[in-house]
Symmetry: C2
Subunit: 193 residues, 2 copies
């Protein structure tokens, strides 16, 4: 059940068999059915999760009621609201399952225990946070410099396995455009071919 998690950790840092076992024992499995939430706006995020099955969207609802999707998480991705988690303030985000999903969850308490007792875990999360940050930095530049059309094309090239599982409404909310405009883009691309 935790094989995927162990494999994921090993990609970032090298741990002894004991260390990885100790760390993984701090996680427990949660099942979240489609349309249910792992986190809602206003709650304080007291966990970090690793998806082993299914699909989540992490999104924000602005004061006009529009949704912006920060990212999607499928198998092998980590999920949390790092803002609420570290500052212990109410989250501004929703984490919602778009499919029936399974996630391995570690509590804030246990994560701090790991930091204190398994020194390499500190490195693990430094490295992971750095990688996440790099990805977001690239996305920020793309959003500042590219048209919605090329952002869409690059998205489907980068995550071909994801688009099949997402509605165009979700993709549009990720790209920062309306689903109507996404339809126009799709038509334009289809004509080109």
């Amino acid at each position: 059940m935790k094989a995927l998690l162990k494999q994921n950790i090993a990609k970032h840092i090298s741990l002894s068999e004991n260390e990885i076992e100790d760390f993984c024992n701090l996680f427990e499995q949660k099942l979240i059915c489609k349309k249910n939430f792992l986190l809602r706006e206003g709650e304080i995020c007291k966990f970090e999760g690793f998806v082993t099955k299914g699909l989540f969207r992490i999104y924000h609802i602005d004061k006009n009621g529009f949704e912006q999707i920060l990212y999607f998480a499928i198998e092998n991705w980590w999920i949390t609201d790092i803002d609420s988690f570290t500052t212990e303030t109410p989250s501004q985000l929703f984490i919602e399952a778009l499919e029936d999903s399974e996630v391995l969850v570690i509590s804030k308490k246990d994560k701090e225990f790991a930091y204190a007792n398994l020194p390499k875990i500190e490195k693990l999360f430094r490295v992971m946070t750095q990688k996440t940050h790099v990805a977001l930095q690239r996305r920020m530049i793309d959003n500042l410099s590219k048209t919605a059309e090329s952002r869409y094309i690059e998205f489907i090239e980068k995550y071909p396995q994801l688009i099949q599982r997402l509605s165009n409404i979700q993709i549009a909310a990720y790209l920062g455009i309306t689903n109507v405009f996404l339809s126009n883009i799709r038509k334009k691309i289809a004509v080109k071919k």
Copy 2:
């Protein structure tokens, strides 16, 4: 000379007098005159810097020649291209001094030495990267959901000390709009008052 650096580190984690001294000794000062570069596109970023005087812009030039500013860094801010630094690939960013500036620089080698020999430094950079990531995540949501006008108003409210030192061209490149449109926004705001 390194008082500001020590103070900044103390804000994130607590170190003994010796630890902080050892770590700060790994930094050396660099002076960068206005319009000069700490890093250029294509170079591999082998340092992390802490600004003690002056002002930098960290930006990208897209294939159409437009500049997108990822962030500004004044006194008390850290600068690096975390992407190039961690992956050791050529940077896609420029780090340019907008004023005559002073920066304390630690090499990648020495930073790795610190990670290996001063365990709390691992925590320092994990915590700092987390904070930077939270800030970027908030900016991403703002860029997806807010108009350029409210992004501008929020920018001048959030960084009043910065705007006085920046041209409108720089501010526009940060907001992701043209300086012409920023002029329109400024006029509109001025009329309102």
